[in-house]
């Protein structure tokens, strides 16, 4: 599928620039061009696709669906699935949280959504396909959905409502399964397209610089680090690798998506994939800026429990992947 990009990169580096194959610099440059073109195309494609889905299935509909339907335990999985198709900006996390609480959606279900939405997003999926292929991407997406579902169920069991900030508790008391119909914007596709297009460009503009820098660093490392270099330090037998990688990842912000290309190179040089996935889930799924925003609706204790449970689930799935992959 991507052969033509490899041909293009080969032609550019070896013919147009006239560099000699099998040298560090030329190989690194070839890798950089191939990876950048491939990943940018994939990002563009996935972001557009999600943009279209989201235009017809906005967040308001998600809330109404979860608020109105009795799902007999499936609501955690549903919330988690909705999280995949709904883009999430951490600055929306507070209105979103309160909106869900207002709609009488249980706290655990809200958490399931809040966990999966940033974890399995369009940028992460695009990068994953480009860097690791379809199989690993599918594993990442499915485990991300399960992780949100399971963490949501655990958080629900912990009965954390009492650790919300007082004014949110008040909203909780007045919560009702709202019946106000969501006024859908009835627009033809031709009218939606420019709006979707704008969003796609905005998202791309935000992540592309980081991704390019990440690929450049990855390209350099690819050419210079010997194969199997990391196996000495981070093999599957090393029990501390997964937790350390996860905990290192949590403070990093999602713009660290530029980190994924670097991680891909680390994997090709011998870091186990489970450790790498745990690290990336930590980077993409949890961030300090998000925690700071949530401070308005949750006490520190609740944020701590929330992050703790998710971190724990990430670590467990990291071990799991190292065993099964």
């Amino acid at each position: 599928m991507f052969d033509w990009i490899q041909n293009l990169a080969d032609w550019l580096v070896f013919d147009a620039f006239g560099m000699t194959p099998k040298e560090h610099l030329s190989e690194a440059l070839n890798f950089f061009i191939y990876d950048s073109v491939k990943i940018l195309l994939l990002l563009f494609f996935i972001i557009s696709l999600m943009g279209i889905v989201n235009s017809y299935f906005p967040i308001d509909r998600v809330r109404n669906f979860l608020s109105r339907n009795k799902l007999y335990g499936l609501e955690f999985l549903m919330a988690s699935l909705f999280g995949v198709v709904t883009p999430f900006c951490s600055c929306s996390s507070v209105p979103l949280f309160i909106g869900f609480v207002q709609g009488g959606i249980p706290l655990g279900v809200t958490f399931a959504f809040l966990i999966t939405s940033p974890l399995v997003n369009e940028v992460a999926i695009g990068l994953f396909i480009g860097l690791f292929g379809i199989k690993i991407t599918a594993i990442y997406v499915i485990s991300g959905i399960l992780l949100g579902t399971i963490s949501g169920i655990i958080l629900q069991q912990l009965k954390l409502e009492r650790f919300l900030t007082p004014w949110v508790l008040q909203i909780l008391e007045n919560a009702q399964r709202e019946q106000d119909a969501f006024q859908e914007e009835k627009q033809p596709f031709s009218k939606r397209l420019p709006i979707i297009w704008n969003e796609v460009l905005n998202i791309l503009k935000g992540v592309v610089p980081y991704v390019i820098v990440g690929i450049a660093i990855g390209g350099l490392m690819h050419g210079y680090i010997p194969e199997g270099f990391f196996e000495k330090y981070m093999d599957k037998e090393n029990l501390f690798a997964v937790p350390i990688a996860t905990i290192l990842a949590v403070p990093m912000y999602s713009n660290a998506s530029g980190i994924l290309p670097v991680v891909q190179v680390l994997v090709s040089k011998g870091i186990p994939i489970g450790t790498a996935i745990a690290f990336m889930m930590g980077v993409v799924g949890l961030s300090f800026p998000e925690a700071m925003l949530l401070k308005k609706v949750m006490t520190f204790r609740l944020i701590g429990v929330f992050f703790g449970v998710v971190t724990l689930c990430i670590i467990i799935s990291g071990y799991l992947f190292n065993v099964i992959l």
């Binding site: 967040i59 951490s90 600055c91 979103l96 709006i195 905005n202 925003l293």
Partner: protein, 79 residues
Amino acid sequence: MSKKIKVLGPGCAKCKQTFQILEEVIIENGIEASVEKVEDIMEIMKYNVLSTPVVVIDEKVTIKGRVPSKSEILDLLKN
């Protein structure tokens, strides 16, 4: 009649961008309107929105969860 525009959002980059676009459209087209930032979360929630930034024109929610384009704003303000 002068329009009252509010931009709802907790002060993230997208909200600032939206605010700026609104101000530019108003100045460039000589529209009579006032733009106000609403950053207080309790105030924002009164409009029953789930994602920010939100553009409210004369107390009516028009755009939510994304940064609008200039032409879009101009269309909304003309009506």
